[in-house]
């Protein structure tokens, strides 16, 4: 059998986590597989990993362990260079010519006045001329590609569903002409205008997922995310989620910082009482003072390490309530996001092209080009080069990191703002706790039978 003639070594991406119930978890960040094993098997598993080329074939139990470890990529062929393999996939994903990934803001106008908004005040909406130019740009850029992916952003995109509708018609035509895979789209919205009618319209347009932010119980949410006239928004958003959750997929985001962290339990009570919790995925995100528009927030933000620990505690609470949805690592072999990818753009209503969502609300000095015939200026070229030349494989710490396959160097925008040239993802700080929670969730759902 091939397994017995090949030479092996242990993967550099193996993680083992002791659990309280006399078992332990085995996680490999390259394959992203998770296994549970009996404590009594620990020594046997370690023996195979440390001496993979011993003659384990004579012992049926050990032979099975070796096969299991190989199947989950815990064992690799001796000559297989995992880092070189990841580096190659990273290049293919970032600079390959298979897909065009776009985030489009039909308007920068917003009906909210969030206390931590990272965008400067701007009410520009996309004109018909710009929409036409955008479709022409997309048509040209998708020549020879296989896929077009689109996310709607803003401003508040639901303020201009008319523009979205017009653009979607054009995008569908391009996808048809170019024979592109054009998967269901998503939208980032504050949820205030997302009533049943709007949700049905989005579904019609093949926008099938919406992310809505709620920042705590009514009082704190309304303080942080009021309408422009300071009126509260909590009740209406909750009602919209109830009305729309069976029409399109809705995901609730909760932005946390030192000002609302103590109000999350109350929010969970309400979400449970309203029958939303458990049916609508919920996740916690860290408020970051990472643009000029929100720089004064730095004193209320948690550090990444603090945030990582808080997320574990919050998710434990969700699990205790039977809500679940524990975050599991996601493979990032092909780059991190739009920003580090050649064929990815964030498009402002005026046609300016950016690489990161954080920059669209700043000014054109952060842009990397525009959809028109305009030749990029030196500043735009520099901005583009900053993202496309960014390479986690040049950073010794990233290169040696045992979770690199699920991180790919982390957020390129944050990396560009950081003195160390990288900002680690939450899993760098809380992987073991998160995997233990995932295991508990699967166990709770009966997945360990």
């Amino acid at each position: 059998m091939l397994l017995w003639v090949m030479k092996f070594k242990k993967s550099r991406y193996n993680h083992f986590i002791d659990l309280e119930d006399n078992t332990f978890l085995c996680y490999n960040a390259l394959s992203n597989s998770l296994a549970v094993a009996a404590r009594e098997d620990y020594n046997a598993i370690m023996s195979v990993l440390h001496n993979p080329n011993d003659d384990w074939g004579k012992d049926e139990r050990m032979a099975k362990i070796k096969e299991d470890l190989f199947n989950g990529s815990f064992l690799q062929e001796e000559i297989f260079d995992e880092v070189a393999f990841l580096q190659m996939k990273n290049k293919i994903g970032r600079f390959g010519q298979s897909a065009l990934s776009l985030t489009i803001a039909p308007t920068m106008a917003c009906n909210f006045d969030c206390s931590y908004c990272f965008e400067k005040q701007d009410s520009t909406s996309m004109t018909d001329e710009t929409a036409e130019a955008l479709l022409h740009f997309i048509s040209e850029k998708t020549k020879g590609l296989a896929q077009l992916s689109v996310t709607w952003f803003g401003g508040e995109p639901t303020l201009r569903l008319d523009i979205i509708e017009k653009l979607v018609a054009g995008l569908q035509k391009i996808a048809h002409e170019r024979n592109l895979l054009f998967p269901p789209m998503g939208i980032i919205t504050n949820g205030y205008l997302l009533d049943k009618t709007a949700a049905k319209k989005l579904k019609e347009l093949n926008i099938q997922n919406a992310q809505i932010t709620i920042d705590g119980a009514p009082k704190i949410h309304n303080m942080r995310r009021p309408l422009k006239n300071r009126q509260g928004t909590f009740e209406r958003i909750i009602q919209n989620i109830i009305d729309c959750k069976d029409i399109i997929g809705i995901h609730i985001r909760v932005n946390i910082d030192k000002q609302n962290i103590t109000h999350i339990d109350e929010l969970l009570d309400i979400l449970q009482e309203k029958g939303i919790a458990g049916k609508t995925p919920l996740y916690f995100s860290n408020v970051q003072a990472n643009t000029a528009a929100c720089a004064d927030l730095s004193t209320v933000c948690f550090t990444n390490r603090e945030h990582s620990a808080l997320v574990v505690n919050l998710l434990k609470k969700l699990l205790d309530r039977g809500i679940g949805n524990i975050t599991y690592p996601s493979p990032h072999h092909f780059g991190f996001c739009t920003a580090d990818r050649y064929n990815g753009y964030v498009i402002a209503p005026n046609g300016n092209l950016f690489k990161c969502w954080c920059e669209i609300g700043s000014d054109s000095a952060q842009s990397v080009g525009s959809i028109g015939e305009h030749i990029p200026d030196a500043l735009q070229i520099n901005n583009l080069a900053r993202y496309l030349n960014w390479d986690p494989f040049q950073n010794e710490e990233c290169r040696a990191c045992d979770i690199l396959p699920v991180c790919s160097g982390g957020c390129p925008y944050n990396a560009s703002q950081s003195a160390s040239g990288k900002v680690c993802i939450d899993f760098r700080h809380n992987l073991k706790e998160m995997l233990a929670l995932k295991h508990a969730e699967i166990k709770h759902k009966g997945g360990l039978l």
């Binding site: 390259l30 997929g249 993802i425």
Partner: protein, 68 residues
Amino acid sequence: MKYIIGGLSRAALRDITGGQLDKCAELNKCDIQSCIDFNCIIHTNPCLAYCSQVGCRELACGNYSTTK
């Protein structure tokens, strides 16, 4: 050892074209098809957490499940 999340099979892991994942899309194994391609942006930017909250995990063919 019992696998509770299959992760990427050797074939999917080493498929540098993403073809294995396209096949899942064709088979309608996943209703959030933007996740299927690792070029996915909506679920990774700006928030990595969003991706795993969609619920599209735990499918042996490489992370993505039929249920959400």
